[in-house]
């Protein structure tokens, strides 16, 4: 049970990292370094989770997006979507672990929800995608 929640979070981070590669290529101006920073932060969480997981989670080569991402506006919408989806996965992870691992999962959820706002998302009572 713990393994599946952590593997789901790792898979989510892989998809998120892929998404930020596309987002970073589409946004302009101050959003560009913000996308780079978010990408680095998601990579750091992915590596941290991978170090805690006994299984090996392979990333996909490519992912389908729920809508075409071909400009700055749709790229920011994708960022809001993936960040909020990560909140849900980290909440699942928080529920399945305890102690420091749970605190870390909540910290990650808080960071993802905060980034969703920075990308133009509206606050939600239960952010999860």
């Amino acid at each position: 049970m713990t393994t599946s929640a952590i593997e789901a979070a790792i898979s989510g981070e892989d998809a998120c990292i892929y998404a930020y590669g596309v987002i970073g290529s589409q946004v302009r101006g101050a959003a560009k370094p913000r996308a780079r920073k978010a990408l680095a932060e998601h990579r750091a969480w992915r590596d941290r989770l991978q170090a805690q997981s006994t299984g090996i989670v392979a990333a996909s080569i490519a992912y389908d997006f729920p809508f075409p991402v071909e400009d700055s506006v749709s790229a920011k919408q994708l960022a809001v979507l993936v960040e909020n989806r990560m909140v849900g996965l980290y909440a699942d992870l928080a529920a399945s672990v305890a102690g420091q691992a749970r605190e870390d999962a909540v910290t990650a959820a808080m960071e993802c929800a905060t980034r969703a706002i920075a990308w133009g998302g509206l606050p939600q009572a239960f952010p999860q995608g």
Binding site: Q77, V80, L81, V87, G88, Y90, A91, D92, A94, A95, S96, A98, G99, R102, E103, A105, V106, T107, A109, M110, E111, C112, A113, T114, A116, I117, A118, G120, G121, L122, P123, Q124, A125, F126, P127, Q128
Partner: protein, 157 residues
């Protein structure tokens, strides 16, 4: 990008359903002759419920004092009411609302309160013994963390 009303309602129903199950467990323990103390609200639920009432009272006080903030603050206030409903425990505010000299100060006070609340909910989540409650409180922590930049964004405009 934002969820439709139907989706938001069903999501809320799922969350309320999850805590409802936890509540049912407590009630059935009571009818099978457990100690009366086990029928009391889970301490984590009580703590979160009290904190939500404090935030609700603070938002209401600032909306009353600065009606021009009502349109921006009411959606956030409603999300705290959603948090309180999902926890499903009756509680009274654990702290009295503070005053602010002007609207901008009020927004800054709320942003600070949201950041503090998010950190406190992270601790509540770690303390939760029920997995469904832990998941719910993790989402509340994320929501409150996201309220802070949503509020400070108002100061930039």
């Amino acid at each position: 990008m934002h969820v439709g009303v139907d989706q938001a309602i069903s999501r809320r129903a799922v969350l309320i359903g999850a805590t409802g199950i936890a509540g049912a467990g407590i009630l059935s323990a009571c009818t099978t002759g457990a100690e009366p103390s086990t029928a009391a609200a889970d301490p984590v639920s009580a703590e979160v419920a009290g904190a939500e009432q404090s935030l609700i009272a603070q938002y209401q006080a600032f909306i009353t004092a600065f009606p021009e903030l009502s349109a921006d603050l009411t959606p956030l206030l409603e999300q705290h009411a959603d948090h309180a409903n999902a926890i499903g425990v009756k509680a009274t505010a654990t702290s009295a609302p503070v005053a602010a000299a002007d609207a901008r100060t009020a927004i800054a006070v709320l942003a600070d309160a949201e950041r503090a609340a998010a950190k406190a909910r992270r601790a509540s989540c770690v303390a939760a013994t029920d997995q469904g409650l832990a998941r719910l409180v993790a989402l509340i922590a994320a929501s409150e963390a996201s309220h802070a930049p949503a509020l400070t964004r108002l100061l930039a405009t």
